[in-house]
C-alpha cells in the first residue's frame, strides 16, 4: 500500500474519532490499522496539518439524558411558579399537590379502577380495529376485485374523522361500552388498513418474480413474501393506531361516561380540582408513551433484518 493511500485510511479513522488532536489519534490508530509498514514518526506532522482546520459540521455527540433537559426545566418553572404564588393553585395545582393527590387516588383505588376501565376500552377498540384493518388490507391487497370493493369506502371513511361519527354511533348503539369501543375501533382501523395496504402494494415485484421462479405455492408466497414484506407497513400503521386509540378514548370518556380516566377528569372539572385533572393528563401521557414504546420494541424485534442496515 502506498503512503498516500495509507494516510487516507488513517485520516478517515482520525476523522471518525472526532475531537482528539491529530498527533495522538495517528499514534494510536496507526498501530491498530493494517498498514504497519509506515514509520509512525513521519506522518503525524503532515496529517495533523491537514486535520487541524477541519471543522465539524454535524451535531456532535448526543448529550447523555439530553431529552430530559426540557421536561426538567418545565417542571422547575412550574414548581418555582407555584412556590412563589405566581401560579394560582385554582388554575394549576402545585407539583407536590399533584403528587399527593395521585397518592390519595391510588390509595383509595379510584385511579386503578378508572385506569382499568379505560385500558379495557382502549384494548378492545384496538383489538377490533387492528383485526378489521388488517383483514381488510390483506383482502384488498391481494385481489383487484376486493380492492375495488373495499378501498373506496375506506378512503371515504378516512375523510370523516371518526369522532364526528359519535352522535350517530350514540343513536345506534346507545351510550354504553359498545359505542365507546366501536368509536375507538373506527379510529384505529383506518391507519392500520392504509399502511398495511400500502406495504402490500409496494412489495418489490422482483420478489414476486423470484417467488415464481422458485415455484412458491400461493400460501408459501403469502407466508414468505407477502406478510413479511407488509410487516413494516403494518407496524407503522400500528403506531398511528395506538396514538389514535388513546385520542378516541379521551373523547368518548369525556362525552358520555360514568367511569374511566376521562370521566375522573371530567368530574374533577366540575369541582375545580386541577390536581386530579393533571393526574389524569399524566396518566394519559404515560399510557401513550408506554404503548408507543411497546410497538417500537415489537418493531425492533421483528424487523431486526433492517436494524443491521440502520446501524
Amino acid at each position: 500500500m502506498s503512503t498516500e493511500a495509507a494516510e487516507e485510511v488513517t485520516l478517515k479513522k482520525a476523522g471518525l474519532t472526532g475531537g482528539t488532536t491529530g498527533g495522538t489519534v495517528i499514534g494510536t490508530t496507526a498501530a491498530t490499522a493494517s498498514e504497519t509498514t509506515r514509520p509512525p514518526g513521519i506522518a503525524p506532522g503532515r496529517a495533523s496539518r491537514r486535520l487541524g482546520p477541519r471543522r465539524r459540521l454535524g451535531l456532535g455527540r448526543p448529550v447523555p439524558y439530553g431529552w430530559a433537559l426540557g421536561p426538567l426545566l418545565l417542571l422547575a418553572v412550574w414548581a418555582a411558579g407555584s412556590a412563589t404564588g405566581l401560579i394560582d393553585a385554582r388554575n394549576l395545582s402545585a407539583p407536590w399537590t399533584v403528587v399527593t393527590t395521585a397518592g390519595d387516588l391510588i390509595e383509595n383505588g379510584r385511579l386503578q379502577s378508572n385506569l382499568a376501565t379505560s385500558a379495557q376500552r382502549a384494548a378492545l377498540g384496538l383489538l377490533f380495529g387492528v383485526l378489521g384493518g388488517l383483514i381488510l388490507a390483506l383482502v384488498s391487497g391481494l385481489s383487484r376485485i376486493a380492492e375495488g370493493v373495499i378501498d373506496g369506502p375506506v378512503q371515504i371513511k378516512r375523510a370523516i374523522p371518526s369522532l364526528a361519527l359519535i352522535p350517530l354511533l350514540i343513536l345506534w348503539f346507545g351510550i354504553g361500552e359498545s359505542m365507546k369501543v366501536i368509536t375507538i375501533a373506527l379510529g384505529v382501523f383506518v391507519p392500520v388498513y392504509i399502511h398495511t395496504h400500502n406495504g402490500l402494494r409496494t412489495i418489490d415485484t422482483r420478489y414476486v418474480e423470484l417467488a415464481e421462479t422458485v415455484r412458491l405455492s400461493r400460501t408459501a408466497f403469502l407466508r414468505h413474501v407477502v406478510l413479511p414484506g407488509a410487516l413494516p407497513g403494518f407496524l407503522l400503521g400500528m403506531r398511528f393506531a395506538v396514538t389514535g386509540a388513546w385520542l378516541a378514548l379521551v373523547v368518548v370518556e369525556q362525552v358520555n361516561a360514568t367511569s374511566g380516566i376521562g370521566y375522573m377528569m371530567e368530574l374533577a372539572r366540575t369541582y375545580g380540582q386541577t390536581d386530579v385533572i393533571i393526574v389524569g393528563l399524566v396518566v394519559y401521557g404515560l399510557l401513550g408513551l408506554l404503548s408507543d414504546a411497546l410497538v417500537r420494541l415489537v418493531e425492533r424485534r421483528t424487523l431486526s433484518w433492517r436494524r443491521t442496515l440502520a446501524g
Partner: protein, 253 residues
C-alpha cells in the same frame, strides 16, 4: 425429454432447450422475431447481444416470467429451471440459509441448503442477514439457491454485472466448478465478451430478434486471456456485436 438427433453424432447429449420461431413483441415492435435456439443437456451457452437486443426478453420467456408479453412460438425447457438475476435478489427478511431453501421441497431441505452454501464457500454464514453480506457473497448465495434445486437449466442474466473485476474472476472460477459438478444446461447473458469466452462452450449472438451468430468455443480448458486463438475469437465476437469499426455501418440499424 426426447433426443433430437438433428444430424449430430450419436454420443452428443440430448437437446434440453428447444426454441422455434419465438416471437415476443412490445407494442408493435417485435423484439424477438422468429428466434430458433437449441441447447443440449449440460451445455454452457453464453448469449451476447447489444443492449436492447432482447436478451433479457428471451431469458424471461424461458423462465416463464413474461406473463403480459404478447408473442408466440414453440418453447420447451427442462424441469426445474433456475434463475440467477443480476441483483442477488435475496429476501431481506430471511436469513441466508432460509433464502437458499426458499420453496425447496424434497427430503432434508435445510441439510441440502447447508451443503449448497458450503459449495459456494459460505459455510458458517447460514444465520447472516442478506444485508450483512457483500455483493459478491450475496450473489454466491443466489447461486447456491439456484443450484440446490439441481436445475436442468440454469438461466443467468448478467449475474456478475454488478461485481468488481476481481470478484468477477473468482465467480467465473466458482461457476465453472459448480457447473462441472452439477452439469445443468446454462444460458448466460453477458455484456462481457471475455466472460463469454472464458465460461462458455458456445457463444450465440442475438441480433435483430434472432440468433445472428452461433460460435463454438474450442479453446483448451483453463482459458486464460490472451493467445492467438483467444484473440481471434474475441475479435470475431466483437465484430458480431458491431464494435469493429469496419462492421459498424451494416449493424447500425
Amino acid at each position: 425429454m426426447a433426443t433430437h438427433p438433428g444430424g449430430l453424432t450419436a454420443e452428443a447429449p440430448p437437446t434440453t432447450v428447444r426454441i422455434r420461431n419465438l416471437i415476443r413483441s412490445f407494442g408493435d415492435r417485435d423484439v424477438l422475431d422468429g428466434l430458433d435456439l437449441d441447447v443440449r443437456a449440460g451445455e454452457f451457452v453464453a448469449l451476447l447481444g447489444r443492449s436492447g437486443s432482447g436478451k433479457s426478453t428471451l431469458l424471461r420467456a424461458l423462465a416463464g416470467l413474461d406473463h403480459d408479453v404478447t408473442g408466440s412460438g414453440e418453447l420447451s425447457s427442462p424441469d426445474p429451471v433456475s434463475v440467477v438475476f443480476q441483483d442477488a435478489r435475496l429476501l431481506p427478511w430471511k436469513r441466508v440459509l432460509d433464502n437458499v431453501v426458499l420453496g425447496l421441497d424434497g427430503p432434508d431441505p435445510l441439510e441440502r441448503g447447508r451443503a449448497a452454501l458450503a459449495e459456494v464457500g459460505l459455510a458458517g454464514r447460514e444465520k447472516a442477514w442478506p444485508v450483512e453480506l457483500s455483493g459478491g457473497e450475496q450473489q454466491r448465495v443466489s447461486l447456491a439457491r439456484s443450484l440446490v434445486r439441481e436445475p436442468g437449466l440454469l438461466l443467468a442474466d448478467e449475474p456478475f454485472g454488478a461485481l468488481d473485476a476481481l470478484t468477477r474472476i473468482r465467480m467465473h472460477v466458482l461457476l465453472r466448478r459448480l457447473c462441472a459438478r452439477h452439469r445443468p444446461a446454462v444460458l448466460l447473458v453477458t455484456h462481457d465478451v471475455d466472460e463469454a469466452i472464458v465460461l462458455a462452450d458456445r457463444v450465440v449472438v442475438l441480433a435483430r430478434g434472432r440468433i445472428g451468430a452461433d460460435i463454438p468455443v474450442e479453446l483448451p480448458a483453463p482459458r486464460a486471456h490472451g493467445g492467438a486463438a483467444y484473440a481471434a475469437l474475441r475479435e470475431r465476437l466483437l465484430a458480431e456485436l458491431g464494435v469493429d469499426p469496419t462492421a459498424q455501418e451494416e449493424n447500425a440499424a
